[in-house]
Every structure is written in structure tokens, then in C-alpha cells.
């Protein structure tokens, strides 16, 4: 299970970073989303990866740590709302600047 989680984390983070470095706002937004997914998964796995151990005292011998799950919930809410905000902002910027480049203008288009 550790290997699967590690590979997933690595893929989410690397594709997220790659997309954030792109020049168009849409890919940047996608990259931010993937990165925040990776971060959430990482936070969740900080409670240690175990099976069949719910975060409830008394059901099983080894209950899992509930705090990372609470942290992840907070992080999910914040990253979800911020993704919504940045989508609207990117749309607003694309309409106002007439370009979906992150700098508001395509440096190559000017030279043509």
C-alpha cells in the first residue's frame, strides 16, 4: 500500500508542478488542483497507513489517529473554495485582458 500511495503522490505532485509552470491560466488552475490533491493525500497519510482501524475508540484495538482526517477536511474545504475563486478570477482576467496567458499577454504574439 505504501508503494501505491507513494507513486500516486509523486504523480499528482509532479504533474501539478508541471502544469503550474505552463503559460495558460487553464493549465495553471488544473495544476493547482492536482497539487492540492497531492497535498491532501500526503496530509492524510501522515496518520500512518493502516487498514481496518477506524478513528473510533473502543471498536478495535488499534484505532487510527483522527487528527490528520480533521486537518485534511479543513484543507479540502479551503483548497476547493480557492480553486473556485481562481477559476472565476482566470475567467475575469481572460475577458478583461483578451488573453488567457498568465501575464495577460502572449510575448510571442506581440512580435508577429
Amino acid at each position: 500500500m505504501e508503494l501505491v500511495v507513494a507513486i500516486t503522490l509523486g504523480m499528482l505532485t509532479s504533474t501539478g508542478v508541471y502544469l503550474i509552470l505552463r503559460a495558460r491560466t487553464f493549465s495553471v488552475v488544473l495544476g493547482l488542483t492536482l497539487l492540492s490533491h497531492g497535498v491532501n493525500l500526503f496530509l492524510f497519510s501522515m496518520g500512518r497507513l493502516t487498514t481496518a482501524s477506524p478513528a473510533v475508540i473502543g471498536l478495535v484495538e488499534n484505532y487510527t489517529d483522527p487528527l490528520p482526517q480533521a486537518l485534511v477536511l479543513t484543507a479540502i474545504v479551503i483548497s476547493f473554495s480557492m480553486t473556485a475563486f481562481v477559476v472565476v478570477l482566470a475567467l475575469k482576467a481572460a475577458v478583461e485582458l483578451r488573453s488567457d496567458h498568465v501575464d495577460g499577454e502572449d510575448p510571442n504574439e506581440d512580435r508577429q
Binding site: 497539487l35 501522515m46 490528520p68 480557492m82 475563486f85 478583461e96 498568465v102 501575464d103 495577460g104
Partner: protein, 516 residues
């Protein structure tokens, strides 16, 4: 438990929420609510300063949970002085904005109150995850405030600002995840205790967590490779918003002081801190140099002021990275001065720009200016203070920094960087002032006279700026008590064991076996 302590968070929260619900209120009522709330904040901040002077650490346990399990708010002298600075600054920003800038868009006052809630919460909290949450609160409010009023420049700057801060939040969460995975706690005092007793094998991960935190706070504070969002964002924002943002970079600085000196600094050796300081020192010096060059090259007073913010960040972080108690006290004094004066310059750029016929605050445009004498003398006094000439607070703070840094190794680098950047600020400000106020304009003398009649000077705006400059002056006048207070504050910061004992009380961490 003293419920007054949570008021700096609760008051802006309630005011902001009320203003959001009552958005149909006319602007006059919104303004008076907002001004009333910030006035109350000033009162509570004064109480906090007095209270922190009496007892070293005042605690507020939310929900009355035992500290490492619940969230705790901690008030010490450093927190109190930052609360007072924020409250005063926001009061002037609200007063200035109430003369008309708040009508450019809706919900200005509600957003400003939420921003204040986030800033005050970040200063007060004693829990790292709670710090993250308050950072998000202040950031979300600042995104909307930056875009307030709309326009192409703001959309463009806002996009950069939002994206870099979202990436920063992701890194913050990664650092918190590493710390929690290693230590099983996020309470600052408990973290300090566990980190000081961490086994050798955990050290590389602790170091990477602390370096991640340095990057996160570096984005907030505008440290060198992470500062390029700042000039565009600050110069695009409306004047009162930019003036309020003068405190935002200092929130990053405050978080660095709190996290590196308290959370990572309990162990005397503090190996994680050595790595951080070794990175910070050159980065801060180059930030300072870059800020100086930017000041010289700026094309408008707002951009110039944004680069002066970068200069101040460079000085603060360079002095911080020397890791010396006396020097930190001096740099906190500089923090008070620079926050106040950069805010003054953001407001001045707007004030003068309003009375120029065209060009707003750009240097390249030669334009007749009404009220030359009043605005010119205000600009002169502000520039003298900003350029750290006597008799203003800038002189006292820089002299104190230079004096306390002289026994340290490598002090010449710091002296050179501070003095040369100071010279660049003097050159840039005198060029700006002489270009605007001294350039002869015979051909337009009659036109300027006509404008003088049609557009009377806005006394409220001018008075706001003058009072802020007067505060900078009184900071120099009453320097001794302020310095004593700051020295006591840094003494506490450099004794993290006192913080840990005060927060944890008789609770003893059960040991790392629990988390394995």
C-alpha cells in the same frame, strides 16, 4: 481566563459578517461601523500592550481544552505590539478609504474587517495549523481587496498574487504534514518540546520541514526569489488597500520569528535553524540590493513605494538571520517605522496624484500640481523620515540596527547594504520630489490657479497622512520606552523555554512511543 484576549479576532469577524448581511446599508453607516470596529481594535490593542507588559504570557484556551489538545491563543509583548501596529494602521486606512475609495466596488469594509481578523489571528495563535487557517483567512480577504475596484492592471496583478499564494499554501500544508507525521502534535509549545528532544534520525526531515516553512513565509514576506509578485500587486491596489498591505509582509516576518526562534529554537544547538539562517542571510542581502535598484528604477511613486517595502523586508530578514537578541529588538523598531512610513507613501502617492492635472503618480509626466506648498511640505517631511534622516524614527531605528550589529561577524556586509540602499532611497525620493514640486511651469501657472479654485484640498485625507507622519515622529520622541518594551519582547522570544512552560503548564509529553 480573560475573554478580552480573543476580542481582536471576534470584533472584526462580527463586524465583517454583519456588514456582509447588511450590504444594503448606505455607505455612511457602513463607514461608521467599520471605523467604530477599528477604534475598538485600537482600544483592545492598547489593553493587550499593557497586559503583556504586566504578565509575560497570557493564555486563552479555546473551549477550555488542555493546551496540546486544543487550540490556544498566546499573548506576549511581540504579539501585543504587532496588534497595536495593525490596529492603528487599519484605522488610518479605513479613515482614508472613507473619503471615497471604498465606493469603487462593493463590500470594501466587510473585506477589510475579515482581513484584520486574519492578521490578528495569525499574531495571536499558538497552534501551527491554526496559523495556516488564519493565513488563509487574511489571504482570501486580500485577494478580494486587491481586486477591489476592478480594472485590467488589478486583474493581471491579482492573478499572479493568487496563484503564487495558492502554491505557497500547498507548501505550507506539506510542511505541516511532515511536522505532524514526525511529532504527532501541532501546538507550537509542544512542537518545540518534541523537536528539541528529536532523535538524530529525524533531523533531515525536520530540516526539510523548516526549509519549506522558510519558503512559505518567504512568499508572504517577499524574500528574494519569491518577491516578483509584490511590486505589480502593491502598485495596482487602491491606495488604502496598499497601505494596509504594508503590514502583510510583516506577518511573514512575524511568523518566521515565532516559528524559527520559538518552535525550532528550544534546543540550544537548534541544528535546523542553522540551515535556515545560512540560506536567509545571502537571500535577504540580495533582496535588499534588488529593492534599492528597484527604488531607483521605479517609474511611479506607487512602484517606488512597493520597492521600499522590499528594502524594508530585506533589512528585517537580514538582521533576523544574524540570530542576535539585541539586533532583533532593533529590527522590530525598524519594523514599526517602516510599516508606518511605507503606508504613508502609498497614501501620499494617491493624494498627490489626485491634484496633478495628468499622469497621476508617474514621474515621466510633467504636470501642473495644485496645492504645491502643502503637498510639497508633507512629501518633504515624509521623505526625510523614510530616508532615515534625523529627527525621525527612521534615523533612530537604523542607527540602532547599525550599532547593535557592529559586534557581530560579517557586519560590514549588513552596513554596506543598509547604507547604500538608504542612499538610493534618498536619491530616488529627492528626484521625485524636485521633479514634482520644483519644476518651473510658467506656461501653466494660470491653469494651475484655476484648478486651485475648482478643486479644494481634501483636508481629511491630508490630515490622515499628517497624523501618520506625526506617529513616526513620536516614535522617535518616545524611543526609550518603546525600545525598553521591544528589548523585553525579544528577551522572551529568545527564552522559548518560558513560552513552553507557560503554555504546557504541568503537562508532560508522553513520549514518541504513542505516535509510532
Amino acid at each position: 481566563m480573560n475573554h478580552l484576549m480573543i476580542m481582536p479576532i471576534v470584533i472584526p469577524l462580527l463586524t465583517g459578517a454583519f456588514l456582509l448581511v447588511m450590504y444594503r446599508y448606505n455607505i455612511g453607516r457602513q463607514r461608521s461601523l467599520s471605523i467604530g470596529s477599528t477604534l475598538l481594535l485600537v482600544v483592545f490593542a492598547v489593553w493587550a500592550v499593557l497586559q503583556a507588559g504586566l504578565t509575560d504570557y497570557t493564555l486563552y484556551r479555546l473551549g477550555n481544552w488542555q493546551p496540546p489538545f486544543g487550540i490556544v491563543l498566546v499573548l506576549d509583548r511581540l504579539t501585543a505590539i504587532m496588534l497595536l501596529l495593525t490596529a492603528l494602521l487599519s484605522l488610518f486606512c479605513v479613515l482614508y478609504a472613507s473619503r471615497g475609495s471604498d465606493r469603487e466596488g462593493s463590500h470594501f469594509h466587510a473585506l477589510l474587517q475579515f482581513q484584520l481578523m486574519g492578521i490578528n489571528g495569525a499574531f495571536l495563535t499558538g497552534d501551527l495549523f491554526n496559523l495556516f487557517v488564519f493565513f488563509e483567512v487574511l489571504l482570501i480577504a486580500s485577494y478580494a481587496l486587491l481586486l477591489h475596484g476592478g480594472g485590467r492592471a488589478r486583474s493581471r496583478a491579482g492573478l499572479h498574487y493568487v496563484i503564487i499564494n495558492l502554491a505557497g499554501s500547498a507548501l505550507f500544508l506539506l510542511a505541516l504534514g511532515i511536522l505532524y507525521g514526525l511529532t504527532g502534535t501541532l501546538n507550537m509549545a509542544d512542537l518545540a518540546h518534541v523537536i528539541a528532544n528529536a532523535p538524530e534520525a529525524d533531523l533531515p526531515l525536520l530540516k526539510s520541514a523548516s526549509l519549506l516553512l522558510m519558503v512559505v513565509f518567504g512568499i508572504k514576506a517577499a524574500l528574494l526569489p519569491l518577491l516578483f509578485w509584490l511590486p505589480r500587486a502593491y502598485s495596482a491596489a487602491s491606495a488604502p488597500v496598499a497601505a494596509l498591505f504594508a503590514i502583510m509582509t510583516k506577518v511573514g516576518f512575524y511568523a518566521m520569528v515565532r516559528v524559527f526562534l520559538v518552535v525550532f529554537g528550544l534546543d540550544d544547538a537548534a541544528p535546523a535553524n542553522d540551515t535556515v539562517m545560512a540560506w536567509l542571510w545571502p537571500a535577504a542581502l540580495i533582496t535588499l540590493a534588488l529593492g534599492g535598484i528597484g527604488v531607483l528604477g521605479a517609474a511611479s511613486l506607487r512602484t517606488l513605494t512597493a520597492y521600499m517595502v522590499i528594502v524594508s523586508v530585506g533589512i528585517l530578514l537580514a538582521t533576523f538571520s544574524r540570530n542576535d537578541e539585541q539586533l532583533l529588538a532593533a529590527s522590530l523598531f525598524y519594523l514599526l517605522h517602516s510599516t508606518c512610513m511605507t503606508a504613508v507613501f502609498f497614501l501620499l502617492a494617491d493624494l498627490i496624484g489626485r491634484y496633478r492635472d495628468n499622469g497621476y503618480d508617474r514621474f515621466s509626466v510633467i504636470s501642473p500640481l495644485s496645492h504645491r506648498w502643502v503637498l510639497g511640505s508633507v512629501f518633504l517631511v515624509a521623505a526625510v523620515s523614510m530616508a532615515s534622516l534625523p529627527p525621525f524614527s527612521g534615523f533612530v531605528s537604523k542607527a540602532w540596527i547599525l550599532q547593535t550589529s557592529s559586534p557581530l561577524p560579517d557586519y560590514l556586509w549588513l552596513w554596506a547594504a543598509i547604507l547604500i540602499s538608504g542612499l538610493m532611497i534618498i536619491a530616488a525620493l529627492s528626484r521625485a520630489g524636485s521633479g514634482w514640486f520644483w519644476r518651473p511651469e510658467e506656461h501653466s501657472a494660470t491653469r494651475a490657479l484655476a484648478i486651485h479654485k475648482t478643486r479644494p484640498l481634501d483636508h481629511a485625507r491630508t490630515a490622515t497622512v499628517c497624523v501618520m507622519i506625526a506617529i513616526s515622529f513620536s516614535l522617535a520622541l518616545f524611543a526609550q520606552p518603546v525600545m525598553d518594551y521591544l528589548e523585553a519582547a525579544t528577551r522572551l522570544i529568545y527564552q522559548p523555554s518560558g513560552y513552553v512552560d507557560a503554555v504546557l503548564g504541568d503537562y508532560i509529553h508522553p513520549g514518541r512511543e504513542m505516535t509510532e
